[in-house]
C-alpha cells in the first residue's frame, strides 16, 4: 500500500483520460469492470480445475467402466450392461463377507467411540485445573498416522508376547489369537480406530457443550434436576447437530476403513484380510479386485456400490439421530 503513494500521479494529473492504465489509483473503467466481473471466477478456478480432472472425470468414468469388462489383461473392451452389478449383488460371497466385516467393525468402533467422546467431553466441561494439558493429551493420538496406529496395535495384539494377551493372562484368562478369530480381529481393529478418534470427537463435543447457555443448567439445577438428568435432558438435545455431524463423518471414514485391517497382518497377501478374509473390508476387496485379479470393470461396480452404501448409511444416521433426539 505504501508503495502506491509514491507511484500515484500528482493531484489533477491522474484523472486525465488521455493517459490510461498508469497510476494504480485511477484505472480505466474497462479494467475495473473486467476485474469485478472475472476476478471471482479466476479465484475459484483452481478448485474447479482440480475437481474436474481428478474427481468429477474419474467418477463419471467409473460409471462407464462398471458397465464393461475392462481389464489390462483383455485386448478388447466390451459393454456388458449391468452384469457386473448382478454378479456382485447375487453371486459374490466374498463381497458380502467384506460388507459384513466393514459394518461389523464400523458399529463396533463408532458406537463406543462417540459415547466415550461424549463422556470425556462432559468431564472436560467442568471447572478443572490444567485444562490445556488434558486437551492436548487427549488430542495427541491424531498426530499418528493410521499406519503407525496399526503397527503399534499389531504388536499389542500379537499372539505371543503381546500386551493384550499379557493383560488377559494377568486376570487369569486364556490368550486369544487376535487375527484368527473373526470377532477378536474386529475388536482389535475397532480399538485402533477408537484410540485415534475418541479425543478428536471429544474436543468437538466440548466445543459444542461450551456454547450451550449456562442459564439452562442453572434453571434445571434449581428445579432439582440431577446431573445425569441434565446431561440427558439438556446436553444431549442441544448437541444434536454436532452428534449428527460426527456420526456422518465417522460413517464416511468408517465405511472406507482400509489401513488398519491391511496392516494388521504383515506380509504381501495382506489385501485378503486374514486367512479366511475375516477382516477384509470393502476397500481392501476393491483393491484386491483391481490389482490382484485385474477385473477393472468389476472393481468399478464395487466402488459404486461402496459409495451408495456410504450415502445410504449417512442418510439413515441422519434420520435416526434427528428422530431420537426430538423424542426426548
Amino acid at each position: 500500500m505504501s508503495l502506491d503513494l509514491h507511484t500515484t500521479a500528482p493531484p489533477g494529473g491522474g484523472g486525465d483520460p488521455a493517459r490510461p492504465a498508469r497510476a494504480t489509483h485511477r484505472r480505466p473503467a474497462s479494467f475495473t469492470k473486467l476485474d469485478l466481473k472475472f476476478s471471482p471466477y479466476l479465484y475459484v478456478l483452481p478448485f474447479f480445475v482440480i475437481f474436474a480432472v481428478f474427481s468429477a472425470y474419474p467418477i463419471v468414468y467409473t460409471v462407464w467402466i462398471a458397465l464393461t469388462d475392462r481389464s489390462p489383461l483383455n485386448a478388447t473392451i466390451s459393454f456388458v450392461g449391468l452384469d457386473n452389478f448382478v454378479e456382485l449383488l447375487t453371486d459374490d460371497p466374498q463381497f458380502w463377507n467384506a460388507v459384513v466385516n466393514t459394518f461389523g467393525i464400523f458399529l463396533l468402533s463408532t458406537v463406543p467411540q462417540l459415547m466415550l467422546a461424549l463422556v470425556l467431553a462432559n468431564a472436560l466441561n467442568r471447572k478443572l485445573r490444567a485444562q490445556t494439558f488434558f486437551r492436548m493429551a487427549i488430542a495427541m493420538p491424531i498426530i499418528t498416522s493410521t499406519a503407525v496406529v496399526a503397527l503399534i496395535f499389531s504388536m499389542i495384539y500379537a499372539k505371543e508376547f503381546g500386551l493384550a494377551n499379557w493383560l488377559l493372562d494377568l486376570v487369569g484368562m486364556d490368550p486369544i489369537d487376535w487375527r484368527a478369530n473373526r470377532f477378536a480381529s474386529w475388536f482389535a481393529i475397532s480399538t485402533m480406530v477408537d484410540w485415534r478418534w475418541v479425543g478428536y470427537n471429544a474436543l468437538i463435543y466440548l466445543a459444542a457443550m461450551q456454547s450451550i447457555s449456562k442459564d439452562m443448567y442453572e434453571a434445571a439445577a434449581l428445579d432439582g434436576a440431577s446431573r445425569r438428568r441434565q446431561f440427558w435432558s439438556i446436553t444431549i438435545p442441544q448437541l444434536r447437530p454436532t452428534i449428527i455431524f460426527t456420526l456422518i463423518v465417522s460413517t464416511i471414514g468408517g465405511l472406507q476403513l482400509f489401513t488398519e485391517p491391511l496392516m494388521f497382518t504383515s506380509g504381501a497377501g495382506a489385501l485378503s484380510g486374514g486367512s479366511e478374509g475375516q477382516f477384509q473390508t470393502i476397500t481392501m476387496y476393491l483393491l484386491d479386485v483391481m490389482n490382484t485379479r485385474f477385473r477393472w470393470g468389476y472393481a468399478g461396480a464395487v466402488a459404486l456400490v461402496l459409495f451408495l452404501l456410504i450415502a445410504l448409511v449417512s442418510l439413515v444416521n441422519y434420520l435416526l439421530a434427528r428422530r431420537i433426539s426430538s423424542d426426548k
Binding site: S39, P46, S145, A303, F307
Partner: protein
Amino acid sequence: MTTTTLRPPARPAGRPPRDAHKADRIWKATPLTWVGLVFGVILSLFPFYWMIVIASRTNDAANSWPPPFLPGGKLGENIQRVLENGDANIVKGLMNSFLVSGTITVATVFFGSLAGFAFAKLRFRGKNAMLLIILASMMVPIQLGVLPLYILMAKLEWLNTMPSVTVPFLIGGFGIFMMRQYAEQAVPNELIEAARVDGCSTWRVYWHVVVPALRPAAAVLGLLTFMEQWNQFFWPFVVLADPANPTVQISLRSLNTAYFADNSQIFAGTLVATLPLFVVFVLFGRQIIGGIMEGAVKS
C-alpha cells in the same frame, strides 16, 4: 476455556443465596470426573510411551514375556538400523513426505484463501451452485474414482512419482469452506469498500486487506493440512507401488511386509515417522486444538 471460568460480574457481594450455590456446584469436578480424565489421558498417551519402550530395546527383548515396560538403551542403534534399511528407504520417504505435504499445504492455504475470499465477499453469478458442488465434493470418498484416477496417472506417466500424490490434492473443499467462514467475520466490508474507493483492484484487496486478516485461520488450516497429508496412506499405497520412491507412510508399510518382523526396528520407524508431527504438535498444539474446536462450532 474462558467461558467456564467467567462469572457474571453483576452478582451481589456478600453471601450468595443458597440456591445459587447449588447451581454453581454442577460445574465442579467430582472425584469420578478426575478418575475418568486421568484414565483417558493414560490410555491416550500409553501407546506413545510404548513406542519408545520397544524402539529402545533389542528385538529379542521386545519379544519377551512378560513384555518390557521400561525403555532400554538401544534407541540410537535401532533408529540407525531403520534409516539404513534398504527395503524401506525411509530417508527418501521422509524427504518425499516433506515435499508433498509442504507443497499441498502452501497451495491449500493460497487457493483456499483466494476462493474463500471470493465466496465470502465478492458477488458473482452461480456462487451458491458452486458452493454446493464444493460441499458435495467433500462427501465423495476417493475410492469412488480410484480406478480411473489410477489409469489417468498411468497415462500421465506419474505412477511412482510424487506428482501423483500431490497434484490431485492441491486444493480441497475443506480449505475453501474454512477460509470462507473466517473471511465472512474477520474481514469488515467497510474496509474492502474503502480499499475499492481508493482504487484497489480485487487482487490488491485480497493481498493488502484480506490476507492480513486471514492470517490466524490460514495458520490453522496450514497445520491441519500438513498433518493430514503427512499421514495420507490409501492413495499413496495405490500409486506408489515401487518401494524405491515412497512417502514415509509407504516406507512403514515396507517395514511391515518384511519377511522377518523386526519389531524394535519397526517401532523405531514409527517413531521417526511421527516425530515431525510431534514437534508440530508441541509447538502449535493450542492452535490445532483451537482449530478443531472452532470448526466444530461453525459446522
